[in-house]
């Protein structure tokens, strides 16, 4: 609760204030307790309540030492010191030492009374050693000193005396935390009742003008709002979509997870024996196992460029099989959709330049580890126009990554069956102090584009990256399972901040 708790009764508070008013330099809370004859803890409570009222008083905590009578000391206060009790127990005719020793105070009292010279011992007495008084009356100094301490006048005793009593375990020295109370800038001896909150009535009546309000505790946390939350990976997806839209890219329809090998591989000039088409890398379907519809002329051209070459290419020169192309799979990349879109573009009466993008799921039947799942999101950008160059690809990548807050880029030659040249994109990571791979890019091969029917002078540049990797870096997540899938901790989702990729 934000408002301070507990309020001592105002009568006591005002009594304290009156005491403070009387003194000039200030007063110790212990003395206040003595003066008002209340327990010190009650005064401490009153001080805290007064502090909460604002500038009424100023109180600084301090600690002081003080002497207290022990349990045994209290017994002496009631019954007299051991030596006094021994003295009183001895009659005129004396007492046998053996009997004296049986008294509760006997042992201690005897030696003390002896050294005070109040009594004497007749060792040679008939019938055994016997003790006699030597004086008529005594003064019980120990008891008197203890009484002084009890009255709070311990300062009147000498240190030596107090230490002597401490040694006898009749006094003990304790440290007491107390407050030094002085008048505050707003000092007054009367207490106004403090309001907790502003109410509609106070606003209506204007009574808030006269009221005092309890101060808030600004150290406390607020109450969390009752709200829904967006998933961090999806927040990052929204930002990437935004970036592409800002750059004038149109979104491709990637809502088809099931793809034929034809569009996923063959149309991209990826040979049928390529390792990516292996059972170990790709999920194949048993039902529906085969795709049954392909553009027939295009299919023939794809077959030809693989098996015999053409369009300026030697081809791969192998026995291309329709059965292999028909196999249905879970798409391994969204480039399958890019291929469909470029084919569609090529069927237009007249070519028009395009910029396409997509962000959607892809699937790999790979070995899983901390950074690899069987499904992840691929981000892809494609530009098709007359005369695009490798320099243009680098320029577009530079613009794209700048929007992600990445400005230091460099490019490494790489291999990809459907792009030539192919470049891995590296960015300099200031934290890791090294170049890290952030994406892949390239110019689509003529063997992919020309069978589709695109004009020979048209180049298509493209790049791709995963959505998960930049998100993991952004949110500092090391295990992909903490980000994606049903095992994520919802608290992570609740706590994830807004996503600004460039800051």
């Amino acid at each position: 609760r934000r408002a301070s708790q507990g309020m001592a009764d105002s009568g006591l508070l005002e009594s304290v204030l009156r005491l403070v008013e009387k003194v000039d330099g200030g007063v110790d809370s212990q003395d206040v307790a003595g003066g008002l004859s209340v327990d010190h803890q009650v005064v401490v409570g009153a001080v805290k309540s007064l502090q909460a009222l604002g500038e009424v008083i100023e109180a600084t905590q301090r600690s002081s030492k003080h002497w207290e009578v022990t349990g045994e000391g209290n017994e002496i206060l009631e019954q007299g010191s051991h030596e006094a009790r021994v003295f009183k127990a001895i009659p005129e005719e004396g007492l046998p030492q053996s009997e004296l020793m049986k008294l509760p105070s006997g042992k201690v009292g005897f030696s003390k009374a002896m050294s005070n010279k109040w009594i004497r011992l007749d060792k040679g007495h008939e019938g055994g050693p016997r003790v006699f008084r030597t004086v008529d009356s005594i003064e019980d100094a120990v008891r008197e000193k203890l009484q002084q301490v009890k009255k709070g006048q311990s300062s009147q005793l000498e240190e030596k005396e107090k230490n002597e009593l401490k040694k006898r375990k009749l006094l003990t020295e304790v440290t007491v935390k107390s407050y030094w109370i002085t008048k505050g800038s707003n000092f007054s001896t009367t207490i106004t009742k403090q309001e907790t909150e502003l109410t509609p009535e106070m606003i209506a009546s204007g009574s808030w003008r006269e009221k005092k309000f309890k101060p808030y505790n600004f150290e406390a946390m607020g109450v969390a709002p009752d709200s829904g939350h967006l998933h961090p990976l999806m927040k990052v997806r929204t930002q990437f979509r935004q970036i592409f839209l800002e750059m004038g890219f149109t979104e491709m329809p990637t809502n088809n997870f099931i793809e034929s090998s034809f569009w996923n591989f063959d149309s991209l000039f990826q040979p049928q024996q390529h390792p990516a088409r292996d059972q170990h890398d790709t999920f194949f379907l048993s039902d529906p196992a085969l795709a049954h519809e392909f553009p027939p002329d295009y299919l023939e051209r794809v077959k030809k460029v693989h098996s015999e070459g053409g369009f300026g290419s030697q081809g791969y020169k192998y026995d291309w099989k329709i059965e292999e192309a028909q196999k249905n799979i879970l798409r391994t990349h969204t480039t399958a959709v890019s291929a469909r879109m470029l084919y569609k573009l090529a069927q237009q009466e007249k070519f028009t330049p395009v910029k396409y993008f997509s962000i959607d799921r892809v699937f790999r039947n790979e070995t899983l580890d901390a950074t690899h799942l069987a499904e992840f999101h691929q981000i892809e950008g494609v530009v098709a126009d007359y005369g695009l160059t490798l320099g243009d690809l680098m320029g577009v990548l530079h613009q794209f990554f700048t929007k992600l807050g990445i400005t230091k880029l460099r490019f490494k030659p790489a291999y990809n069956p459907y792009t030539e040249p192919s470049m891995e994109v590296f960015s300099y990571h200031e934290g890791l102090k090294k170049w890290v791979e952030v994406g892949n890019s390239g110019v689509f091969r003529p063997e992919m584009l020309l069978p589709m029917g695109l004009p020979e002078e048209v180049s298509v540049i493209a790049w791709g990256l995963s959505l998960e990797r930049p998100t993991m870096i952004k949110y500092g997540i090391n295990n992909i399972r903490e980000l994606v899938g049903h095992k994520v901790n919802l608290q992570m989702v609740y706590d994830s901040p807004v996503c600004r990729l460039d800051s």
């Binding site: 939350h229 030697q314 791969y316 026995d319 320029g395």
Partner: protein, 574 residues
Amino acid sequence: MPTVGVKRDLLFQALGRTYTDEEFDELCFEFGLELDEITSEKDIISREQGDQKAEGASDVILYKIDVPANRYDLLCLEGLVRGLQVFKEKMEAPRYRRVSPVNGDPQRLIITEDTAGVRPHAVAAVLRNITFTPERYESFIELQEKLHQNVCRKRTLVAIGTHDLDTVSGPFTYTAKAPNDIRFRPLNQSQEYTATQLMSLYKTDSHLRHYLHIIEDEPLYPVIYDSNGIVLSMPPIINGDHSKISVNTKNVFIECTATDLTKAKIVLDMVVTMFIVCVLLSSLSLSLSLSLSLSLSLSLSLSLSLRESAESIAQLLTRMCLRSEVAGDDGQIQVEIPPTRSDVIHACDIMEDAAMAYGFNNITRTTPRTYTVANQLPLNKLTELLRMDLAAAGFTEALTFALCSQEDIADKLGKNISETRAVHISNPKTAEFQVARTTLLSGLLKTVAANRKMPLPLKLFEISDVVLKDETTDVGARNNRRLCAVYYNKTPGFEVIHGLLDRVMQLLEVRPGRKHGYYIQAAEDSTFFPGRCAEIFSHGESVGRLGVLHPDVISGFELTMPCSALEINIEHFL
């Protein structure tokens, strides 16, 4: 991407200078390689089998270098060094030439028709007057293994056999015979076996058992004999012991049998050209199959943004082992493709090499002038808008997998798998990847199950795709965009989920009503508690269901509290 391990000091010796790790890494980057790891045999053994086993192992430093998957010519030390030295202009690109033996005719390999059914192609070559050193011999064997694993696709496409020519005599015959009719002493065995016996012998061999399936079920097995009937090899499984090569072998007979002739030629060219350099004077080979000449015009340089003269482009290409010269005045460049560069199949491959030699990072970055107007996919636009408003309605977004087990979408939801219209995966490694989901509900329930410790209520949603069989599409399946939400608490909260439906409909501008609006109507569904399920209709069409989940479904997902759920098809509202 294949990885080649080379001894650092041998590499530096061959390169004629030493590099720091950073310098060598930089050189790799430029050349399209990647210095993946710096290690030693000792490190590798100690990592895989513990420090004790590693004691006494070699601590000679090894560079593990990642090589692009199409650059078979960089799969051994010899090839790497040649490529880098030419790149750094420390040596000229070698030219390869087939020569005839000084005395006698070239060797011949006769292929019989019997091989047609099992492994129809074979090519062969002879390397003469070779001098192996122990290191070079080791590299020769390793190159074959690298080729087998990569371009040969684990010996299915091509298998390589190398033999000491001086222990056999040609002409050689490549034929196929019934397994019981093949009998020989295989490599490193002391006795003869029939092919049938060999196949069972190698069943337990950690290395060879992976290749048995290639011919196991064939009626005839491939086999190569010399003119005296000595078995050289039974491809793609094992060579004969008789003709085995050693570090002292002078003349090597190399045969490649294959199901893909193009790849067989590539592989043979690779083995021959990689080791030809150590026998400069002598080589005789049967096959150097490919020497391709391509003419390039200056348009190439334009597509690379290289503003270079034809002369300097020719020079750049020569640094990539592609000997080039300017032919004529119109900027045409004549390029000679050596047999080592089987990756070059189109002019664009040559362009890339020019760009690499120029340095990708030296190319000026430009901005294309392509003018386009951006459009969102309407379905994704709607999805984005609804997501925001569902979160504003107090529901938290989950992100679950599109692949799951049959159980998740059928048994656990009280359904039969046959009624789900699910697509089935034929090669899942685990049950988690048996099918593509047909509902978002199971993913959300699994998310709740993983978060049972969170304060109640849990209110989750997801808008994503499910996959359904659909014969009207080319692949026989289609995605369907769904909105699913669950409410999990001590009370079922049907009114909460119902309220969310009303809110979604309000957002979609669909008013309550029978004909032109939406309404819900009691329905039977085994996923839901009897009498607590309703079907949702919009404009007279069923778009989904909502209700309180069946207790068996709740326990099936290892949950303990009542739960209500909603799932609708949002494509209806486009």
